[in-house]
């Protein structure tokens, strides 16, 4: 991030020297990143680098061993239960599975956060839900149950639910994984559109390089528990680092070898069993 353009108020999420381990397995080993307000920031990295874990840390569902996580001026790991829940009303999160409540219809799923957190009359809740559904193009699907939705539709419903309380920021966990080209296109457009129209701040965790790079304002590349590179999509596309280049262009072999660590092929085949 260019130092000159940086002002404190401009940054919604700040992560400093984050360390996190599950058992003996280190997941983050000193991560620093800053998410600017109003921007779409993409965090990319190979599978299994803890991208989802990062979102859970920002959302306060996990606590780091050391390091600081600031969201909108509050230090997340130090918040008390009530303060954390108050902060979460300003965050939306889109889970990879959608995480829709399976015993409620599409309409009731989107009404759920409104009914839980507001005392709005039912007629107003109806209007709000229909507005959110219209925004994701699924107003006609309001009476369906989650089990009747396709993967792409479920994710759009979850998106409508995530914006139901008009949050400041929204976190997407692998929004493009396993989508067909059409729903992928719809999601890409939707994320950008919602971000700009509602003045949101979006954090996307993804390994779909092309789609993510298409809507990103800024990209962080995560590998082996560290941020290896960050910059605008153009800057990363023309990066001189061989690792970044391999990742951004999806080359099968390079600094990240095609083969998982193993003994020599010949020795393995000839080994006595």
């Amino acid at each position: 991030m260019p130092e000159s353009a940086q002002s404190t108020d401009d940054i919604l999420v700040r992560v400093r020297d984050l360390h996190f381990a599950r058992g003996s397995r280190k997941i983050f080993d000193g991560v620093d990143l800053e998410i600017r307000r109003g921007k779409v920031t993409v965090i990319m990295g190979p599978s299994g680098t803890g991208k989802t874990t990062l979102l859970r840390l920002i959302g306060g569902q996990l606590k780091p061993q050391t390091g600081q996580i600031w969201v909108d001026g509050e230090e997340v790991p130090k918040l008390k239960h009530d303060q954390l829940y108050r902060l979460r009303k300003r965050m939306g999160m889109l889970f990879q599975s959608g995480a829709l409540l399976t015993d409620l219809s599409v309409f009731d799923n989107i009404a759920f956060p409104l009914r839980e957190h507001t005392k709005l009359p039912e007629s107003m809740i109806r209007d709000l839900v229909l507005m959110k559904l219209q925004a994701v193009g699924l107003r006609g699907a309001r009476d369906l149950m989650p089990s009747q939705l396709s993967g792409g539709m479920a994710r759009r419903v979850a998106l409508a639910r995530a914006i139901a309380l008009d949050p400041t920021m929204i976190m997407y966990d692998e929004p493009f994984a396993g989508q067909d080209p059409i729903s992928m296109g719809a999601l890409v457009q939707l994320i950008r559109l919602l971000n700009d129209a509602l003045g949101l701040t979006s954090i996307i965790v993804s390994h779909d390089v092309q789609e993510a790079a298409a809507i990103a304002d800024y990209i962080y590349l995560l590998s082996d528990g560290k941020i290896v590179e960050h910059g605008t999509p153009e800057a990363l596309n023309h990066s001189s680092s061989p690792w970044v280049s391999q990742f951004m262009h999806g080359l099968p072999d390079g600094p990240v070898p095609f083969h998982y660590k193993a003994v020599a092929y010949r020795d393995d085949l000839l080994a006595e069993t």
């Binding site: 009303k89 889970f95 956060p113």
Partner: protein, 262 residues
């Protein structure tokens, strides 16, 4: 396996058991702390009383009837040798109110409602619905767990009472209807010998304790389940097994405390 390895395994298992026990109690403390918030939202509890209690009624009614009928038959066969078949009502009522009502109802409750609670909560966890609620700033303990716990706790004593009442009717059908015990004797002896404090209150206390423990185990196992298909299936099994063991062991303890010192 060598001795050291065996000892290590024992230690690990022991630590694991105590860790789970500790987590279970912390979880219970969280649930109890969330109960007051339910006062403002009784609808959540009512919906759960329906799925936990009302939907268990059929199995409780049918089982109660048959258990009562068996008691009538067996009791009559024993009593008739002593010419005491007039006391059949006492035998049936005391067996049901003191023991079989609370215990069998709790075992059925674990099988019908406890397993359902565990599976439901476990699957909600596995499909990230609980996580999703947390991120929507809705506390799943308050919204999902506490209403289910309270519903189970309230339903169980009522189910046990219904079980006992239906059982007494079952004993009456067999004893009076089929085997010719005098109807007046059946009821009057029962009225005479079954004590409100000694028998009925103690039975109710048992069913309250069993309801508490059975529901606690069910919601804890669901919330603590490994979030996979296999994990949920294991948790459901554990609910039924642990509840059965806990109920039977507690029944002995409670019986010893209530009726032991005579």
């Amino acid at each position: 396996m060598n001795v050291i390895g065996w000892l290590q395994q024992l230690g690990r298992t022991g630590l694991g058991v105590f860790e789970r026990l500790g987590r279970g109690h912390l979880f219970l403390a969280q649930i109890l702390a969330s109960l007051p918030s339910l006062l403002t939202r009784p609808r959540l509890v009512i919906a759960q009383v329906h799925s936990v209690g009302v939907l268990s009624l059929v199995i409780i009614l049918v089982s109660g009837l048959f258990v009562g009928m068996v008691l009538g038959l067996q009791g009559y066969n024993t009593l008739v040798d002593f010419g005491a078949e007039e006391s059949l009502g006492v035998v049936v009522a005391l067996s049901l109110v003191r023991e079989l009502g609370p215990v069998v109802a709790a075992l059925l409750f674990a099988g019908r409602a406890g397993s359902a609670l565990t599976a439901e909560i476990g699957l909600m966890k596995a499909t990230e619905q609980l996580s999703g609620m947390e991120m929507m700033a809705v506390d799943p303990i308050k919204r999902v767990i506490a209403p289910r716990f309270l519903a189970g706790f309230l339903s169980m004593p009522l189910l046990a009472a219904i079980f006992s009442a239906v059982g007494v009717m079952g004993g009456y059908f067999v004893g009076v209807g089929l085997l010719g015990v005098d109807s007046g004797a059946y009821w009057s002896q029962m009225q005479d010998k079954v004590d409100l404090h000694e028998d009925i209150y103690n039975g109710v206390i048992k069913s309250i304790v069993f309801g508490f423990v059975a529901t606690w185990i069910a919601v804890f196992e669901g919330h603590d389940a490994v979030p996979t298909a296999e994990g949920v299936s294991r948790a459901t099994t554990r609910t039924v097994v642990h509840t059965a063991l806990a109920v039977l062991a507690l029944d002995f303890v409670l019986t010893a405390l209530m009726f032991g010192e005579v």
